[in-house]
Amino acid sequence: MQMPEPDQAIIDAKRDIVAALQAIVPGEGVIVDEDELRAYETDGLTAYKQLPLIVVLPETTEQVSRILKCCRERGVKVVPRGAGTSLSGGALPLADGIILGLGKFNRVLEIDLENRCAVVQPGVTNLGVTKAVEADGFYYAPDPSSQIACTIGGNVAENSGGVHCLKYGLTTNNLLGLEMVLMDGTILRVGGKHLDAEGYDLLGLMTGSEGLLGVVTEVTVRLLRKPETARAVLLGFETAEQAGDTVAAIIAAGIIPGGMEMMDKPAIHAAEDFVQAGYPLDVEALLIVELDGPQAEVDHLLAEVSRIAEEHGAITSRVSESEEERLSFWAGRKAAFPAVGRISPDYYCMDGTIPRAQLPLVLRRMREMSEKYGLRVANVFHAGDGNLHPLILYDANKPGELEAAEDFGSDILKLCVEVGGVLTGEHGVGVEKRDLMGEMFSEIDLKQQQRVKCAFDPEALLNPGKVFPQLHRCAELGRMHISGGKLPFPDLPRF
């Protein structure tokens, strides 16, 4: 994995840049000591490390604007960072770039229950939003597993999902407005408390743009009323096919569960050993189906789901009879990553999405790859929306295993694209999947995306080295080549 060649002139100008930044953010907001910089050298994708040139921690939008303007004038690259939980290396620093940390933007600015929204700063954690409104019976729907730590700003950058997004949508479906700062220091507001802001949908574009277009300094999120009740059912199957068919049949019956998760045998065993969730151990696939909503609806649909599962060969079926039991069903799933961490020195988490019907094929091919690479794989799967999280088990201390795990991972993602899916469902491209973008997109597709980038950041100073395998200069992208000069219109039918 190659990052852009560092610019030695920028590294040599560090003292001047530090002085300029200190003039904007006084006190301890500018970090230069190597020991302190160390805390920022990686994110949730710990295989890659790089010390940043400088870290700056502004407290106001105006400071962010001045920092970006200052960096642009000097040609300094900027990597925005929330809590640094990215699993794709989205916040990986650059040797000649600053880290712009938004951690001090940690206040809930306004709770407006009448309009069912909250205005928060980007450094507020995902769970922090829900905590701020749960006493009133509301919550913020997207729930990535890292929600205790990850920030709303990072969620916007990555368009984070979670186990409930089949019914409630991803981050992009739960935002109303943003304040953001462009690389030239321009402060813009998009949307507000109203729906569907006019003009081009920059709110939708910004969500999932991985910190390459602008720095988000304020977010208005939609709040939902907490469902009256939620119950889950654990369903065990002898084959993954049966579990997959059950998922399809549930949806074909018109039921959209709040959550619908699948685990394969290695994941079930790892989770059960770790948290004793009460999972059946004699099954090849486990489904957790959660229904939420009014009591009458949940009871009705649970009966339907149980009946469908039985018809499709479920050999175990257990409905949660208490909130405690429901949470214990989820405890195993939510702890699947650390559970796998206990049975292997290292693991590599993938994030492809596939059309659901392709699941049996993809699982079979993955088993073949597992044999080929000599590495074990455990699967957790957002079954409702086709988002796979294969966990590849490896030992970084054994020569060649990290590389084998990475190759195994790219083979899985290529397979996802081959069967009609995509490289990443919710973790982002970052540096991790950057060089695989050509598997999914043509050169023309990628150039069109980069022309969007040019509209926001023509010098490509914001988070370079992420998402795009090759950076084209905006001037080059702007050129139009018209072959053969101006031709009369050929023979399209006219009337």
Binding site: H194, G199, P493
Partner: protein, 404 residues
């Protein structure tokens, strides 16, 4: 004398756009032309008609996904979904009767290009939230794709969002993929009778803040309620506030009873069952209250829901009704002069939100800003985005903003 190019496949779309780019000839992009009277009139000698670029190319009900060519009639898509008991959950409106064109004639591409969503927007999201993947020809005459056929996808920028609501000014969509959802088994509507606007919006806010999963919240003042085809609504003799509940039978019955009980302090309540409910919400979706009096201008305002009544009171002209819990205001007033543009923009300026002139004579739509004017920094950014897709500004020039 201009020509209409009628493309039957993607290659012909590319050919037409590449020609227009080379000649720097503006093109009006038409799906089936049903919303041609929406937006600013396009100044283009030539047009590109996509009505023959038609047909559903993939529909997998259990995967909740449907793909179609851009010119496919919405009616054809709705019929296919109906047969599987599914729907486009964002409830796309048929604005033809409002705009005075032939009903039931819109295309899927045109619907997405305008991002128009109906009453269920507040629960299920807008058209843009259901738009999974696209292939299109940019104004450079190049075919590019974005998104895919799966719901969870963060691979690259979400250009579907940009194209949705771009009124054909960025690229010509040729193939689109949508997320579809099961149709609810039952639809009931709780009616609250005789509330003034402000009380109605507070009541809707209570209902939307309840755990009863309200999937539509609208308020019609007495004069407009009286025109409904649903006899219970027309005969109510006063204003009608409506709250829609959808889902499996037992759930809908339970929630309907609970909501009526919880809102009993507001006076008399009534309930509509399935057929009447469906009719009532279709009327709202298609803006039926303003079909008559077609000489009046119609505005669509999107504001913070709690501000709806204040906005209407401050404009103090014409007739209004509310959808989206108060956040969507449909306003009809005289089309004379600027059709109320200056007054409406002044009222919204300090409060936020935006207003679109949906129906007005072409000369008014050419002279006034049809969409909410943007501040200079935002307008400049949007112009740069346009530049990246359509450097010669050949695609629907001026349809959204003059010069864009």
């Amino acid at each position: 004398m201009g020509s209409t190019f009628s493309a039957e496949n993607r290659d012909q779309v590319v050919e037409a756009v590449a020609w227009a780019a080379a000649e720097e000839q503006p093109l009006e992009i038409l799906g089936r032309g049903s919303k041609r009277a929406l937006g600013r009139p396009v100044q283009a000698a030539h047009s590109l008609d996509l009505s023959k670029l038609s047909g559903i190319t993939l529909y997998e009900p259990e995967e909740l996904v449907l793909s179609a060519r851009a010119g496919t009639p919405l009616a054809e898509i709705e019929a296919a979904l109906d047969a599987e008991n599914q729907m486009m959950a964002f409830e796309p409106a048929d604005l033809a009767p409002l705009l005075g064109t032939e009903t039931g004639n819109g295309s899927i591409g045109g619907m997405l290009a305008c991002n128009l969503s109906g009453p269920r927007r507040i629960k299920a999201g807008a058209a843009r939230d259901h738009f999974l993947g696209v292939e299109s020809a940019s104004g450079r005459g190049e075919v590019f794709k974005s998104g895919g056929r799966v719901v969870k996808n963060v691979t690259g920028y979400d250009l579907c969002k940009l194209l949705c609501g771009s009124y054909g000014t960025l690229a010509v969509m040729t193939d689109v993929t949508l997320k579809v959802l099961p149709r609810p088994q039952k639809t009931y509507t709780v009616l609250l009778l005789g509330l003034d606007d402000a009380t109605a919006v507070k009541a809707m806010s209570r209902a939307l803040g309840s755990p009863h999963e309200v999937a539509g919240a609208a308020h019609l003042p007495a004069a407009l309620a009286a025109g409904s085809e649903v006899s219970y609504v027309a005969a109510a003799g006063g204003a009608v506030t409506a709250l829609r509940l959808e889902g499996p039978g037992p759930s809908v019955e339970y929630r309907c009873a609970a909501l009526r009980r919880e809102l009993a302090d507001l006076g008399e309540t009534e309930e509509l069952h399935s057929q009447n409910s469906l009719t009532f919400w279709r009327e709202l979706r298609d803006v039926r209250p303003f079909w008559t009096g077609s000489d009046r201008a119609v505005w669509r305002l999107s504001v913070a829901p709690s501000l709806g009544p204040e906005v209407v009171a401050s404009i103090a002209e014409g007739e209004a009704f509310y959808d989206w819990g108060g956040g969507l205001v449909w306003l009809a007033l005289s089309a004379d002069g600027d059709a109320g543009a200056a007054r409406i923009r002044d009222v919204l300026q300090p409060l936020g939100g935006h207003a679109t002139l949906i129906r007005a004579p072409a000369e008014v739509r050419a002279a006034e800003a049809v969409f909410q004017p943007q501040d200079p920094a935002m307008a400049a950014l949007q112009a740069r985005v346009k530049e990246g897709f359509d450097p010669h500004r050949i695609l629907n020039p001026g349809r959204m903003y003059a010069g864009l």
